[in-house]
Symmetry: C2
Subunit: 830 residues, 2 copies
Amino acid sequence: MADADLRDLRVVGRAQRKIDASDKVTGRTEFADDISLPRMLYAKLLRSPHAHADIVNIDTSKAMALQGVKCVITGDSMPITFGILPVSQDEHALSPKRVRFIGDPVAAVAATSEEIATQALDLIDVVYQPLDTIANVDQAVSTSDPLIHDYGDSGNLHKLIDLEFGNVEPAFENAHSVREDLLFYGGNTHLAMEQHAAVANWTGDGKLTLWSSTQTPHYVHRALAKVLKLPPARIRVIACPNGGGFGGKSDPFNHEIAVAKLAMLTGRPVKITLTREEVFYCHRGRHPTLMWVKSGVSQDGKIEALHFRTLLDGGGYGSYGVASTYYTGALQTVTYEVERYKFQGARAFTNKPPCGPKRGHGTPQPRYALEVHLDKVAEDLKMDPAELRLKHLAPANSLTANYLRVGSIGLGACIEKAVSESGWHEKYGKLPYGTGVGIACSSYLSGAGLPIYWNDMSQSGVQLKLDRGGGVTVFCGSTDIGQGSDSILAYIVAEVLGLDPLELQIVTADTDLTPVDLGSYSSRVTLMSGNAALEAAERAREILVKHVAEKLKVPKTRVSFAEGRVFDVEDPENGMSFAEAVQISEAAQGIVGTVGSYRPPPSEGRYRGAGVGPSPAYSYSVAIALAKVDPTSGIVTVPKVWIAHDVGQCINPVTVMGQVEGSVYMGLGEALMEDMAYRENRRLVHKIPSMLEYKSPTTLEMCDVETIIVEDPDPNGPYGAKEVGQGPLLPLPPAVANAVYDAVGVRIDEVPITPEKVLKAIKDKARGKEGRYGPTSFPDIPWPEPTVVPPPWEGGDGRARKKTTTPAESSGGGSAGSGNRETGKPGART
Amino acid sequence: MADADLRDLRVVGRAQRKIDASDKVTGRTEFADDISLPRMLYAKLLRSPHAHADIVNIDTSKAMALQGVKCVITGDSMPITFGILPVSQDEHALSPKRVRFIGDPVAAVAATSEEIATQALDLIDVVYQPLDTIANVDQAVSTSDPLIHDYGDSGNLHKLIDLEFGNVEPAFENAHSVREDLLFYGGNTHLAMEQHAAVANWTGDGKLTLWSSTQTPHYVHRALAKVLKLPPARIRVIACPNGGGFGGKSDPFNHEIAVAKLAMLTGRPVKITLTREEVFYCHRGRHPTLMWVKSGVSQDGKIEALHFRTLLDGGGYGSYGVASTYYTGALQTVTYEVERYKFQGARAFTNKPPCGPKRGHGTPQPRYALEVHLDKVAEDLKMDPAELRLKHLAPANSLTANYLRVGSIGLGACIEKAVSESGWHEKYGKLPYGTGVGIACSSYLSGAGLPIYWNDMSQSGVQLKLDRGGGVTVFCGSTDIGQGSDSILAYIVAEVLGLDPLELQIVTADTDLTPVDLGSYSSRVTLMSGNAALEAAERAREILVKHVAEKLKVPKTRVSFAEGRVFDVEDPENGMSFAEAVQISEAAQGIVGTVGSYRPPPSEGRYRGAGVGPSPAYSYSVAIALAKVDPTSGIVTVPKVWIAHDVGQCINPVTVMGQVEGSVYMGLGEALMEDMAYRENRRLVHKIPSMLEYKSPTTLEMCDVETIIVEDPDPNGPYGAKEVGQGPLLPLPPAVANAVYDAVGVRIDEVPITPEKVLKAIKDKARGKEGRYGPTSFPDIPWPEPTVVPPPWEGGDGRARKKTTTPAESSGGGSAGSGNRETGKPGART
């Protein structure tokens, strides 16, 4: 796909309707809870009321005796453990011996109605032996009694990471100034409108079908095969359209496995829909994260060395936690130039609901820390914080200190446009007391470099069927969770084949029908499934071009596709309908069907953990927030946010804007109010497990958003496209925190930035104390021996340096536009 | 696929469970009428009470005013005609101006319940102007007033055919004896247990989905696109599992198009299920056929020349009728040697429900005529009728007089085995009065050589998806109508890939999901879809072999597949699971997906109509019936039938036996009792449009069946397989008729062989008249100028002769076994 082609695009880059829009707005979309099968039973899970306890006995006989109850199972029925990551297979579908958080399921009931199933739960007698709890990370770090799991890196520390890229200490010593900060990012949850639901069906011929509101049908498939000991080919997982996922539906869940087991035992379909309260407890959301950051900078603000520590409160199980922990450190080098980088990360087990991935997975927290820290550095240096950032952008087409290969970087353009659109220079430091602006930048993945399993295989596959009637069916394992991934597939295939995207058939998220795609997480679908679709479509196009060129008696290079026709580009009348093109191809060679695959370029790091962080492409965002602070109440409102996002190339500008605005919304909630709070002195129950009490922005709190789309096509993206679904959330919390400082001169080093915290800082400042609210210490962690890795420019073996040249040498598909790419520094960052 | 491989088969040829058996026996199978969608409406068609009338006016206002009625449409809403054959596009979804049989639909209602829709029909006021009717073929031949259609070959003669292969007159003159007979084969219907049903859904984004109990989803798709003027890519037709088809669900039907239109107009799903009475009228069943046969034979019974005439009562529309007419003549040359052949066929329009294809489509009637005729010839020559047939089999691997290429022929073995198993020689002519045996032979197609549309494209396509979990999904447009075609696909792919057929996923009969397959008709699926599946599977196997051979470091020829493993055939421990084989292949080259296609060898005839008759392979059957005739009542019972069928190669002997037994059942019904009778003096109403009154055998009438499977692998069949679903019906009626003659000495030259007919013949004989019941004259037909075609052995251009050599030179795939094939006469039949 040459650059010139981008100018001729007919679908890609244009505003398009989403292909499922009609079904969504008319209510035709069938979500998992909408499914109703003949003879279907309803399941409920009995969940532990204890945060930590041994199960002494479970008596299900009274529940079994209740009229309408068809089956009651406990943990003994499914002794095999599961978990999303191979290194954290620590969950049981139902806990057989010990519960580790309030909500840990111990039994499941299937009955003829939801009411009876609920009633039956009360009839199950469980004798617990309560254990001491680990209520927070401080306790987790300081004691191994109780020990929540008998695995992990040290006591109740699930994971410990210590990586050093280049020697930071001499750089700190030589730096113009060194600064340390402590920050805390509170936990919060996804709050998808749709609660988790699943329906299992077991047919007499030994096949299991599970419909589920999951983002990752193939991983669920794998967990089912493991726990239920079924051959994978006998399991079909269908991801229903998700009513929001945001990462909260990307683990395989207890309830999915439990309904499958109940269906197998009863021979009847079984449905479960979690209550909203259960979803709050099943939460695999944002890890509460304590962070310490230390930088040594030059006089003009260049980061000569960065030392960063994180401590994550993981809750009771592993989930994605090991990856989350790596992610809190991995991307700190992608946004700006960081020549030497030391990262220490720890994840603690506590007796609270397990945390996992939420939009931005592991990166909003460190982004918050670093962007607030940089705001302080700029102040120290008396520099404009926007200017400081602009001066030290990471170079495009290069390797970072921790061996992440970065392709296109539109961050410079993002900063410039956000600054100019917002009138930054007229506002920053110049607005009246109580009003301020703050800026923050970020970068994010377009899919993880390594899949969770199957390291050496494709992450995405697409199969195409071309029909002699002109129909094209696109089969892909990807899951549309509302982000529009099905539409993206349609746009890309329609572009290549010159068709109307609404006429394509898009079949996704069904492990029987579709080739593997690892799911909707890590903002991977547009780039990865998109590249697979591009490959499959281009192969189909190639077949058609061959036969049409022969028929029209023109060279293949002159065959073009548009508006449902295939024709000689130099004489457009000389052509045929797309259907006829398929027909002559089919007559010549049989059914036309193709496959396409995508596997990202291999990780270039060779250290342990090098697999978490690499991505084929990184998006960039800049947010400037306007904040108003009422100094008498501490209430912060954000009337407006200007946000610029480098998406590489828009596939559909309307869905890009939708993702940006949704990210701003969620980031604003995290910045100001969202908080998963547990009563540490009351058995660790959730304080506010309901949508009425859990605070998140309503339309009244939502800010105006001015979205600026920056296009800097990435060599690895389909048509140059990169991610947009998660990245724009990241700069929100630090931009708001920095704006609060600009407004009232206090530093809120802890999100959410609640009125209480602001008011306390304002009062403290008025009393002459430090005008700051935030953590004051970082626990003493038994860090392991650091893994010391020379950054590429110090590597000496020439490997990294040799690869750090031009976009053309980067692997992967996609188009290579020029955009705002800085190509001045093709070598290493020395 | 070398011969040797047949010995090593692990799935093919072994008794296997049908893959849908569990769903069928547990009631899980969802038929079209089982579908229920939210907001679904119910449709009913208003059908004409007149056999022939002009529609003067239709007033739907009262019906529209009925509470619950959502839409009423008439013929004006769908002015475009449709029909299954391109040459007979003579039907309207709803007749706008004229009705041509009782049951012709004129209006359709959609309402919130079936009851309201039925009630609404009564409120539609139709003013008809009745016209004179054409009640039977005699009238159709003799008058053009009224003229039912303004197209066709002559007056009310829809189709006239006159073909002569070689000059028959001199051969008659030189023959040892010449004999003429007149016979009549009554019309009958399919009597599938499931009535026709369809559900249409129209979504706001302009996509139409139709679920239907159809045998031919792709043809329905095409008719919908034409009549509704929709782009084909916006229409999805899903053929639900059929509760029996037998040809009766292979036309696109009025009700399918009407519900689609109603769904489009109301924006709601619309369902229709025909009543049993409607099915009797919508009947596209067996054409009542009058036949005249004249043969000139040598002293030992060799047919030197054959002249054959048919006259079909087509009813009010074209349907498949042109093809049906050709079929009544085409296959008469395939069973025995016929050196010179003249065929004249005519189809008349009458004001009765249109006839079309029923099991055996157009061939049971001529088979009945010829086999009864041959029984008389044998008697004339004082030869044993079995011996006469055995002496003059058509030679294998040769062209017939009318240019049909015949591959393997197991008829000789069939005759020998049926004769020996039945104890023919001890019974024929030797049983006491009232008891007798009769023999008859037949041959049938394994799929038509030409599709109905798309002549130069594949008739079948299969797409495979291999999953890294070891799952394999087979996508094929074929339609399982109970015959087990889904299972056949599974067996073939499982055989090639060494898997358990029950672990495969078989996805069929969905125009969105599956590559085109033209449907379940003409006994085409096992051979055609089977060959496409074989090709797709072998391509997948080839991919896996390559990568496994590299991994195991053995030559590719040593890589074998069995029991879910891929291994070195010389060291079976050295191998891996099938899933691993997929995984290493995927790691090496991406997603593994393949396509396979099948297109039959081209027709070798160059005359008009040469496309109807050719098939890649012909099956052969022999039936010997034991009949008991009560001379006082005329009641015929058939206690036992021995039937031998040459299926080429069994894919699954159990399903082969099922098809043979089902064919015997249906053939017995046609022979003895089934009759579509209309009251010619009472407006042409159906006499017995209900299952209570229409006679077909119950378990009490059903005979014992001894099935003898003969395997003579055909070079064109997958693993050598040929058809079995229809052919075994063909010899039943003549075998029973011949047995009746052996029992009581009367010839019943008209089926069904009812007690009245038998009793009359017995009484006539007792009175010294001819002991025969049957037609006495053949109307004077205005035959066109004959098309005179020299048979291949007189062709002179050497084309045919050159091709008539060895199986290896035949085109197409499949295995070439030896079996009972006669290879002694590889050349032309001179």
